[in-house]
Subunit: 206 residues, 2 copies
DNA sequence: GCATGTGAAGTGTTTCACAGCA
DNA sequence: TGCTGTGAAACACTTCACATGC
């Protein structure tokens, strides 16, 4: 993976820290202690310090961390210095809702295009992002050097579309299908399995 | 939590095993070995066996596990013997897409009602599930003894709505807001943070 | 004095490897 | 023989506790 030995979970927390730091920056806070930032992020202070230490030494003893500098370092670490283009595949029910979802843009991702086997139907739903025929998937990925894709196709199609994405050069897939995708080692898949999350809750309610 | 000492992650995998078992059952398979089931679920055989062993002994040495029986046991363990009623709060963009999402019903959950501060607007989007004024939230939860809620309100409102849910008796929250909810210990929160998942991928693409 | 950075201890989870049983 | 069930080893991650430095 290139980078050294950093717990996967620490990467997730980095995103959370980044959000908290942005909020602090908006409030003109310049320095923050591990205790304060940890509380905002919902973790223990020691964990926060250890997470940050994986990447270097950014704090001043007796004082804390510089909000803006730390925020920028995390942004860079997460590969988000530049606006990252993303495509969405499968503009059905969930897919077109995600197209309208503001959250991605707010965090610095631009959904540049959507693909569907029936692009006309999707356009009719009032989506502002271009919906393109799935036939032109590979062409687009290569032309625009797309690295990230959001996959919302029906479960039967998921694996075959995933294969096409990977072959065309996609390196990260955010997968909404309830299926374990098989991909080569260089590709990272993040699963968002809505029904599974709900089932998981079922276990904990008495 | 009542139950003994079972890794949280094992609970998640239980849901996946359950899905695989259902598929096997549909294909009239009666017995399955840990190797086969593990491959389908994307885990190692030893892990599958250990996960199942937390709940008892269901396999036959030299043969494997009985598909139907094991499937039922997992269903019961996950608290899904009966159809579980769920409410959704916040029928905005993402929320109303989730209302139309078929996946929850497929896995045995019934979204019985949605709540919004502007219920009329949501109804106009063609949702078939009743959308009720947020004012009647507590009333409904208590009347129907709702235990699970899907939370899709704007981030500013998330914590206060969560408080209302918990006070009314909700024990599990599937939270789509990018915020760390603070709840009492008896309540379980599952976070689905879409932007965070995308950010996480950003780290791994070169 | 105060808050970071970090070895070391602790906790939780996964994997191994093999005994035990159909 | 084949496959489960499980102690023990390995690994991964978290927390502690304190030396270090501003």
């Amino acid at each position: 993976m290139g980078k050294i030995d950093i717990p996967k979970k620490a990467i997730y927390r980095l995103s959370i820290y980044h959000r908290c730091l942005q909020k602090l920056h908006d409030n003109n806070v310049e320095t923050v202690s591990s205790t304060t930032l940890a509380r905002a992020a919902g973790v223990k202070p020691a964990q926060l310090r250890k997470d940050l230490a994986y990447f270097g030494q950014f704090g001043t003893r007796g004082l804390g961390y510089p909000v803006e500098i730390l925020s920028n370092i995390i942004r860079e670490t997460l590969g988000r210095e530049h606006l990252q283009p993303v495509i969405l595949v499968g503009a059905g029910n969930l897919g077109s809702a995600l197209l309208r979802y503001q959250g991605f843009g707010r965090e610095g991702f631009e959904v540049v295009a959507a693909f569907d086997s029936m692009p006309e139907a999707a356009i009719a739903r009032g989506v502002m992002i271009p919906v393109i025929s799935i036939d032109r998937l590979e062409e687009f990925i290569e032309e625009r050097a797309i690295k990230l894709a959001i996959l919302c196709v029906p479960v039967e199609a998921a694996q075959s579309i995933a294969n096409r994405l990977v072959n065309a050069g996609v390196q990260g897939i955010l997968n909404f299908s309830p299926i374990v995708l098989e991909v080569t080692e260089e590709v990272t898949v993040n699963n968002v399995d809505l029904a599974l999350e709900l089932e998981h809750l079922g276990y904990f309610i008495r």
